[in-house]
């Protein structure tokens, strides 16, 4: 009996089917995890986007309308998330804050990706002293932690929505430049690029059809990470009083204003913090799922 069992195990067919079985067991689990990340992250992001849209179309209460008689009301039917120390509706302010967060996050990521990828592409494709010059500048910029560089820029440019977006975008340029440079450096020396050159393809076509498709994955993953980081940085800057200015609502600013009342009105510190947490987690989950999808080892 044992011999038969052994013989069965030793046949190539039997071994491969065992390995196949393992692979099939492993694959659904990974697929499930990726799908869970996409569904959870996507749904949470959808909620935030809906809140932003509701605020945009004026479907919430007026976020800056004060009513001293209704100050520090707990969550209830009239005010879903309660009111703050000026009697302003916290839900309306959270919804308005989601507009700011998405705008600053999206705008600064777009700025960082465009500028960083262009610089990195130029450095990686040109090589030589261009590469040396751009990368030394990027090294110098990387000496400043993101939030510090953003604080420095906001200090000289002044606070406000546009400047906050520019400052956070500039602080994230180096990471995109580094990633894109790596992609172009590898692509420049690849055989298929040499072949395209030999066939007389134009530089722009080589970049567009041969190099960029390989680099778009890492840049996309970095964009989701930067989007999340930008939202956190905006909240930090606004918490410090250097980002979005009152009376406009920003999640960071709301936290700062709610802190002195936290003993009496817990909801006023819970709501804005939870909004930041949920948005950043949603973006992180989406980023993880995209990374898994693009990684050939986990596909």
């Amino acid at each position: 009996m044992a011999v038969v069992w052994r013989a069965k195990r030793l046949t190539i067919k039997g071994w491969s089917s065992e390995a196949e079985g393992f692979r099939q067991r492993a694959r659904p689990r990974r697929l499930q995890r990726r799908q869970l990340s996409i569904w959870l992250g996507g749904s949470l992001l959808l909620v935030i986007c809906l809140a932003a849209a509701a605020s945009w179309w004026g479907l919430t209460l007026e976020p800056n309308a004060m009513n001293i008689r209704e100050r520090l009301l707990p969550p209830g039917p009239g005010h879903w998330l309660g009111t703050d120390h000026f009697g302003r509706d916290i839900f309306a302010r959270i919804a308005y804050g989601s507009r700011i967060a998405l705008l600053v996050g999206g705008g600064s990521t777009l700025l960082a990706a465009t500028l960083g990828a262009s610089l990195g592409a130029w450095a990686g494709y040109k090589g030589g002293w261009w590469d040396e010059l751009i990368m030394r500048l990027i090294d110098g910029l990387m000496a400043f932690p993101g939030i510090l560089l953003a604080i420095m820029l906001v200090t000289v440019m002044g606070p406000g929505l546009g400047n906050t977006m520019i400052a956070i975008g500039m602080a994230n340029v180096p990471v995109f430049a580094r990633i894109t440079r790596g992609v172009f450096l590898t692509g420049r020396n690849a055989l298929y690029v040499e072949a395209a050159h030999a066939l007389g393809a134009r530089t722009w076509d080589i970049i567009r059809y041969h190099i960029l498709p390989n680099g778009i994955g890492p840049i996309l993953v970095q964009a989701t990470v930067t989007f999340a980081t930008a939202i956190l940085t905006e909240a930090s800057l606004s918490y410090l009083g250097l980002g979005i200015q009152p009376p406009d609502a920003s999640w960071g600013r709301m936290l700062k204003e709610a802190q002195p009342q936290m003993g009496r009105a817990l909801w006023s510190v819970l709501a804005p913090g939870a909004a930041i947490f949920i948005t950043v987690m949603a973006l992180n989950l989406m980023g993880d799922a995209i990374r898994d999808r693009l990684d050939p080892e986990t596909r």
């Binding site: 910029l141 000496a143 400043f144 932690p145 510090l148 820029l153 410090l240 510190v269 987690m281 989950l285």
Partner: protein, 316 residues
């Protein structure tokens, strides 16, 4: 041993990066805004007062002269004089540094003490409930804003249970135990994100190590699982963790700007915010350059440590 030639090359790169970082600092504070004197005093300031301040700051000199004077001073440790406090910027930084440095060191210690075992345990119990629980905690740690976590910690540990102080700092020289307690909550809040990152990297790195041949050989020899896990796998999987930890230490200095504001700690971050509030540009400029220099030096030390730990890394 790290070859001298490599060390020399890394040192010269360090000097170049420092030089560029200082140029960026100078450009940001002296070129972008137009007139720093007006930025400090406001657009409606008296022209005579403005002219005096410009003379005092050396802003009446050509830009390149200003730059070289400032750079020479910075290289010799003279970062200028604070406008509001009338004291050398360098001495103000040194005065506040112990608070920020203690906060960063304690946060780093918490990161390693919690992050590495959590990641290693997750890898050892891969696919089990403990692994999923740790994965959920890392996901939460990566997304939670540390200033919000700080507020929640104050609510729980200081206001509800009254176990730890809600803010402020007791100097180490006065009462070391109280100093430690006053830094515990801010350090925990500041470390949350890093703990999650380190746990994630340790888990991945250890899972990688657990599939290596030497582990299979060890298991074949009949070595106990704990020795395999902690002596063989963990030791080898800590190399990437060192690099990440080095980079995080630099980030901790910047993160402390917000944490110090939440917990009212009199550190470098608060000094920076006060300087911004009073438009004290020499002080803002000095602190920014100081933090950048520390980051560059820590990155250099991490590189060297990485080479010492992993002899497989080539020096070219």
């Amino acid at each position: 041993m790290v070859p001298l030639q490599y060390l020399w090359r890394r040192l010269s790169a360090l000097v170049v990066t420092l030089l560029i970082a200082s140029t960026i600092t100078f450009v940001v504070f002296n070129i972008i805004p137009g007139d720093p004197a007006m930025l400090m005093l406001g657009t409606e300031a008296d022209p005579e007062v403005l002219a005096n301040l410009r003379r005092q700051l050396g802003l009446d000199l050509p830009l390149h002269v200003q730059y070289f004077q400032w750079l020479r001073g910075a290289a010799l440790g003279d970062l200028g004089t604070s406008i509001r406090l009338g004291r050398p910027v360098a001495s103000l930084i040194l005065e506040r540094l112990p608070v920020t440095a203690s906060l960063a060191v304690l946060a780093m210690a918490l990161t390693i003490i919690i992050g590495v075992p959590a990641g290693a345990y997750g890898a050892a119990r891969r696919g089990r409930a403990a692994d999923y629980l740790i994965a959920i905690f890392t996901q939460v740690g990566l997304a939670i804003p540390h200033f919000w976590l700080g507020i929640l910690l104050i609510l729980l540990f200081s206001m509800r249970w009254q176990l730890l102080p809600p803010g402020g700092f007791v100097p180490w020289g006065k009462d070391p135990w109280q100093a430690f307690l006053s830094l515990l909550l801010p350090a925990l809040a500041l470390a949350s994100h890093r703990i999650a990152q380190v746990a994630r990297i340790t888990r991945t790195s250890m899972l990688d190590a657990l599939h290596k041949d030497y582990i299979r050989t060890g298991r074949g020899k009949g070595l106990p699982e704990t020795i395999l896990l902690f002596k063989h796998a963990l030791k080898n999987s800590l190399i990437p963790v060192v690099t990440v930890a080095g980079m995080q230490f630099a980030g901790l200095l910047a993160g402390s700007i917000v944490a110090e504001e939440v917990f009212a700690l009199p550190g470098l971050g608060r000094l920076l915010l006060q300087a911004i509030g009073y438009r004290d540009l020499p002080l803002v400029q000095g602190i920014s350059l100081f933090i950048a220099a520390v980051v560059v030096i820590i990155n250099f030390m991490t590189d060297i440590l990485y080479l010492l730990l992993d002899p497989r890394v080539r020096y070219d």
